[in-house]
């Protein structure tokens, strides 16, 4: 893996909220094609780490490079990077006042300059890819949670991103819908998408992750491939964490 191009590179990242340190000297990198899962207790800084990589949070120390671009850069540079790095949120965040089709084509038409018919075609393809091609003319509130999250993934795919960031994409879902979203993500991983996935789904992390990061108190305490992550405990807090979640 390490000979592949670095897609995301965090060096000594520090993020503070007032006197509280949410990320404390975090360094890690993600290479092209890699799937990195991030686990850890609530409040350990998982979301914060992901959000800093998309410029949704500013950092107080260290550096972040995404696709070779120093973050956050100028406004234009940041917008360009965000078009190349998709993000999926726990709460879907679909645009409620727009149909699924409008949700999907808005960004490609207004930022990539796609014409309407190309964008429509791409919207149909993206929805087919996440298994809900027949829902294109519905509105978000007419879909189940699992379907909405798959639309959110399709919306990110519309930009043909080179890397995708997932922040607990299944945590807001009813249990019976978790599987359908994980299936989509599994497909993406199999197609070679570079992914950073914050998740509580240990089964998914073990099966799909190339590496698993364990975070606690704003630090990455463990960074291991799945086979050693679960079987050879290298950290006392990880052992405690795993005993709770497994």
């Amino acid at each position: 893996m390490t000979d592949k191009e670095v897609v995301i590179d965090c060096r000594n990242v520090v993020k503070t909220y007032g006197s509280f340190t949410a990320l404390n000297d975090v360094s890690t990198s993600i290479h092209r094609g890699e799937v990195v899962c991030v686990v850890g207790p609530s409040g350990s800084g998982k979301s914060t780490l992901l959000r800093t990589c998309n410029g949704l949070e500013t950092i107080q120390g260290g550096t972040i490079e995404v696709l070779g671009q120093h973050m956050p850069g100028t406004r234009k540079e940041l917008e360009t990077i965000r078009r190349r790095a998709g993000m999926v949120f726990q709460s879907f965040n679909l645009f409620d006042h727009m149909s699924i089709r409008e949700n999907l084509v808005l960004a490609p038409i207004t930022t990539l300059g796609l014409d309407r018919s190309t964008a429509d075609q791409r919207a149909q393809d993206s929805l087919d890819r996440v298994g809900i091609g027949n829902q294109i003319d519905k509105y978000p509130n007419q879909l189940s949670g699992g379907q909405q999250q798959r639309v959110a993934i399709a919306r990110a795919l519309m930009m043909q991103p080179e890397v995708m960031l997932f922040d607990e994409p299944t945590s807001a879902l009813d249990p019976e819908m978790v599987g359908e979203v994980l299936d989509v993500m599994r497909d993406l991983a199999a197609q070679g998408m570079t992914m950073a996935v914050v998740t509580h789904e240990m089964g998914f992390a073990r099966e799909v992750g190339d590496r698993i990061l364990f975070m606690a108190d704003g630090q990455i305490l463990v960074d291991q491939p799945p086979d050693t992550f679960f079987t050879i405990p290298t950290d006392e807090r990880l052992t405690t964490f795993l005993s709770k979640v497994l």
Binding site: N54, G55, L56, L78, E79, T80, I81, R82, R83, G86, M87, F89, S91, F92, N93, L94, F95, D96, H97, L106, A107, T110, T111, N141, A152, R155, A156, M159
Partner: protein, 221 residues
Amino acid sequence: MNFDFNVLTIHYPAVLDGLLVTLRICLFSLLFGVIDAVFLCLGKLSGRGAGYRVSVFVVDFFRTIPEVVLIFWIYSCLPLLFGARLSAEISGILALSLLVAANVAEIMRAGVQSTNPGQLEAAMSLGIPAHTIWLRIVIPPALQRMSPAFVNFLTELIKATSLLSTIGVAEMVYQANVLGNRTFAYVEFLTLVAAIYFALIFPLSLFVRRAEARLVAQKCR
């Protein structure tokens, strides 16, 4: 006492003239007021700095003082300050514009601030530029959410125009009083005016009720 329809059939054109003035005042105070409201709203949304403080002061000030005081104040004090007398109707439009500006600014602010922050982040994470986010993500749902409050305020504005009769603007209530003085048919003219106000305002109230119900239904779905 008999209700004298005859006096109405003779003098109703004067009442309609008054209605025209009422509508004209509403229209112009809305026009000027809403333009000001946009700036006040942006000022309040900016959150700090001089623009913010001025906007907060202006909005609070004109929302708290009673309309009548504002109307009299503009009509009688502005000439003292600037030396020139404004016509009653212009003074009225000025006073009501300030009323519109302050209230609509607050309605707009509430509409914009009820934007789902998650949707903003989603839009940003797609690399959509700020002006497109405003036009496509923030404003359309904000307009929808603020339409009940806006139309509700519109009914208040229509009622407030009647206060301008006190400074001699020839709107409906003023006309009714003048005709009443002339013919002693006060009841007839005031009843007619009340009916016209009802016809103007009741449909708006119905709209507000429906729009609110629709918003609630949307939230629950």
